[in-house]
């Protein structure tokens, strides 16, 4: 019953999306207010219908409706509540349903909140959003229907892959999809601007807000995924350069470039064509990410459901949408001229270099991810491109970006002085250099790049602090939420960098076979293997190993490393025991007894210094993004003046021009 309602709502959403698209685009073309109103209402209805459809899917999972093929394949009656819930998006059909829902919600948000935009521009953006809705709802309905029934209902389901049964991963897809699909709004706005042949400051503001919001969600989504991988996969690693991780990294990088660029569009009237181009690329990469993950074309850790026929659909949509938008761009972009000049050394110049480096970083990830696929298609050769390639190409491109990061905000608009900027944050120069020398002395010169990058992290942090301090001391207007947001996000980048460097260069690993009673020393901890015990839960059996740890300062605590066997999936997982602290994590994985000795167990011990900074940094970045959104200046929806550009310029306070 519930499933029928869901299917009906889904089926209705398709013609409504068609209506949204047609009425909005035609209404805008003909200056027909009523038609545009119809388009807006259709957008709201589309959002409501898809929300209903998705709610039905969730209910089907929660109530374990085993007449649905999807529920049987991905759920089980004995599964905990949270994972039944999460199972509704933990599969191909369900995740696409979520995709389409977010797309419709984004359209609904534009229909309700977009009053500051010129009516025609908004209608066009809604029309584009509706067209995307038609394509993806159609794909969902015809090629991956989540409400497909089994001829005879099953008695029970196959269960969700146990590796995925983790709280962080349960909420990882929604954030990721809000990020991915949120980028459809900048895309729609960009295409609408091309159709319109002109842009305004309100448009730029919307571009910035929607990109920032999507980016913040994407940051959280990626960080959750990485945190899950860190705890669950048992290598103590946080990033594996897996194609699916790369697929989410690419739109993330371009989104950073885009919202920096949108600031310039909004405040200075430069980079207009470029920001439109970036908006198109950002969403294209988001769609590419969906294609890579969902088609299973790059077989990787994340591609569970692999069915090549679906890939063709998404690829066709990708080619149509991106190709169409880029064609329109090449035909229309010349109409959008930039009207502000700047010297190479200026804040605009810094954003230009930021964009250059981020785009090249993205290009190296793109090429590395798709190269094996391209080569295999072209001449059948099978090659692998793994972590060593990305570490050698992507990382060097990011280092100059990190150097530039604290300088950008202290450079003046239009014409700045590098020396002046350096002087303003000279403390950061000193502390950064001291950090490089300090780490060289303390850790040795073994990886030279590590000391350098660590110094850059410190340079960013101290630089941001200098900026905040000077800003508070100066007699200018009080800094707004967007200043705090920017500072937080920049500091977050520095914190992230410190964590990444410490983890990559200075973590310690020990792999030992121990018998109960044996002990060993790892990174200043004395660890004793006490005993093992067996436990069971609703859906798994587990062997637990108890370890007693004495730290250098005499503190004693217990760690329990666990290996689980999930009979429903015939799978085993390892639950690492982790002692978190800001200084570093002590991380223990219990292995099998590979050797003949029945009592001995193989343990993998890791000391991961400063590793929590990685997620702390990501959290700071996401919070920073949120702060920028909360800025009053961006929430105020002022009706757009005829030449919004000039009207906006008057509203600039001294602080922004300084």
């Amino acid at each position: 019953m519930i499933a029928n309602i869901g299917l009906l709502a889904l089926a209705l959403a398709l013609p409504i999306a068609l209506l949204q698209s047609g009425a909005s685009l035609w209404g805008a073309q003909r200056h027909h207010d009523r038609l545009m109103q119809v388009g807006r209402n259709a957008a709201l209805m589309q959002a409501a219908l898809l929300a209903l459809a998705f709610a039905c899917l969730v209910i089907a999972f929660l109530s374990s409706d085993f007449s649905l093929a999807l529920v049987v394949a991905h759920s089980h009656s004995a599964k905990p509540f949270l994972y039944k819930f999460a199972a509704s998006w933990g599969n191909h059909e369900g995740s696409l349903a979520l995709w389409v829902l977010v797309l419709a919600l984004a359209g609904g948000a534009l229909a309700i909140l977009g009053e500051s935009l010129a009516p025609r521009l908004r209608a066009r953006a809604l029309g584009i959003q509706g067209s995307l809705g038609v394509l993806f709802t159609g794909f969902l309905l015809f090629a991956s229907n989540p409400f497909e029934r089994l001829p005879t209902p099953a008695l029970d389901g196959f269960g969700l892959n146990p590796v995925l049964q983790d709280p962080a991963l349960a909420i990882h897809p929604p954030f990721l999809y809000f990020g991915y699909v949120g980028l459809s709004l900048p895309f729609s706005l960009a295409v609408a601007a091309l159709l319109e042949g002109g842009i305004s400051s309100a448009w730029a503001r919307w571009l910035r807000i929607t990109t920032l919001a999507s980016w913040s969600a994407l940051t959280i989504g990626i960080a959750l995924g990485s945190w899950w991988a860190y705890r669950e996969l048992g290598w103590g690693g946080f990033w594996f350069w897996d194609p699916v991780e790369n697929a989410s990294l690419m739109p993330w990088l371009i989104a950073i470039a885009l919202f920096h660029c949108a600031v310039i569009v909004e405040k200075r009237g430069a980079f207009r064509q470029w920001s439109i181009f970036l908006a198109i690329i950002a969403f294209s990469l988001a769609m590419l990410g969906t294609f890579l993950v969902r088609s299973g074309v790059l077989v990787s850790v994340h591609s569970f459901a692999t069915d090549p026929t679906r890939g063709i659909f998404i690829l066709a949509i990708l080619v149509c949408v991106s190709g169409g938008a880029l064609l329109l761009f090449s035909a229309r972009a010349a109409r959008l001229r930039d009207d502000s000049l700047f010297a190479p050394v200026s804040r605009e110049g810094a954003v230009l270099v930021n964009n250059l480096l981020l785009c090249c970083g993205c290009a190296s990830v793109f090429v590395g991810t798709l190269y094996p696929l391209a080569l295999e298609t072209l001449n059948g050769a099978k090659v692998s491109v793994g972590a060593p390639f990305f570490n050698l190409t992507f990382a060097p491109l990011m280092l100059p970006l990190f150097f530039l990061l604290p300088l950008g905000p202290v450079l003046a608009w239009k014409q700045g002085s590098l020396l002046g900027a350096l002087q303003r944050i000279q403390l950061a120069v000193l502390v950064g250099l001291a950090a490089i020398i300090g780490t060289l002395a303390y850790k040795g010169a073994a990886p030279l790049w590590a000391s350098l990058a660590f110094g850059l992290g410190v340079w960013i942090l101290v630089g941001v602090c200098c900026e905040i301090f000077q800003r508070l001391r100066s007699s200018e207007s009080r800094p707004g939420a967007s200043f705090w947001g920017m500072s937080l996000a920049h500091a977050g980048m520095g914190v992230l960098l410190l964590g990444v460097v410490a983890h990559s260069a200075w973590s310690i690993e020990r792999i030992e076979s121990l018998r109960p009673g044996d002990s060993l020393d790892v990174a200043g901890f004395n660890i004793t293997f006490e005993n093992t015990a067996f436990t069971r839960s609703d859906n798994f059996f587990a062997e637990q190993a108890l370890l007693r740890v004495r730290s250098g300062n005499g503190e004693v605590f217990d760690l329990t490393a666990e290996r689980r066997v999930y009979p429903i999936r015939a799978t085993s997982t390892s639950e690492s025991a982790i002692n978190y602290s800001l200084a570093g994590d002590l991380y223990v994985v219990l292995g099998d007894n590979w050797i003949a000795d029945a009592e001995a167990r193989v343990f993998r011990f890791y000391w991961n210094p400063l590793v929590s900074l990685i997620w702390l940094g990501a959290a700071l970045m996401a919070i920073g993004g949120g702060c920028c959104l909360a800025d009053r200046r961006y929430r105020a929806s002022r009706p757009e003046a005829k030449r919004g550009w000039e009207s906006r310029q008057e509203n600039l306070s001294v602080e922004e021009i300084q």
Binding site: F158, L356, T393, I511, V602
Partner: protein, 133 residues
């Protein structure tokens, strides 16, 4: 069929953690040689896994290759000889760090080319735009 797929997925995921990766009994006695072995193993793909190095993988195949690799090192092979040996056996697919020969040059040079291209385009636009302004 669907059931088969699920079973297959389960079989693949049986290796999806590190519990059975490099074991203590595989280690070489010479620390320098073992360090080289670890570095090499991190560059080799586990062919039956998904984007994992043999150093990280719990698959029996990965263990076999780790042992093979160590036996070559013990026999006195250089890193380059070990790589060549493994490529001869398993194909270039085993290298997570692709070679810099032939068409792979395109791959390795792409970030530099992208940077050069983007810089030139940016500079060219910037000059034209200054001239117009």
């Amino acid at each position: 069929m669907k059931r088969l797929l699920v079973l297959f997925a389960a079989a693949v995921f049986a290796f999806a953690d590190a519990s059975m990766a490099l074991q203590p009994d595989e280690r070489l006695d010479d620390p320098a040689l073992e360090a080289r072995a670890r570095a090499l193993a991190a560059e080799m793909r586990c062919l039956v896994c998904q984007n994992q190095s043999i150093d990280d993988s719990s698959a029996p195949f990965a263990r076999d290759v780790r042992l093979l690799l160590r036996s070559r090192l013990e026999a006195g092979d250089t890193d380059e000889e070990v790589r060549a040996f493994l490529v001869a056996r398993f194909g270039e697919f085993i290298l997570l760090k692709p070679t810099t020969q032939g068409v792979n040059l395109v791959l390795w040079l792409s970030p530099l080319l992208a940077l050069a291209f983007a810089s030139i385009v940016a500079w060219w636009y910037y000059r034209r735009w200054r001239a117009q302004g």
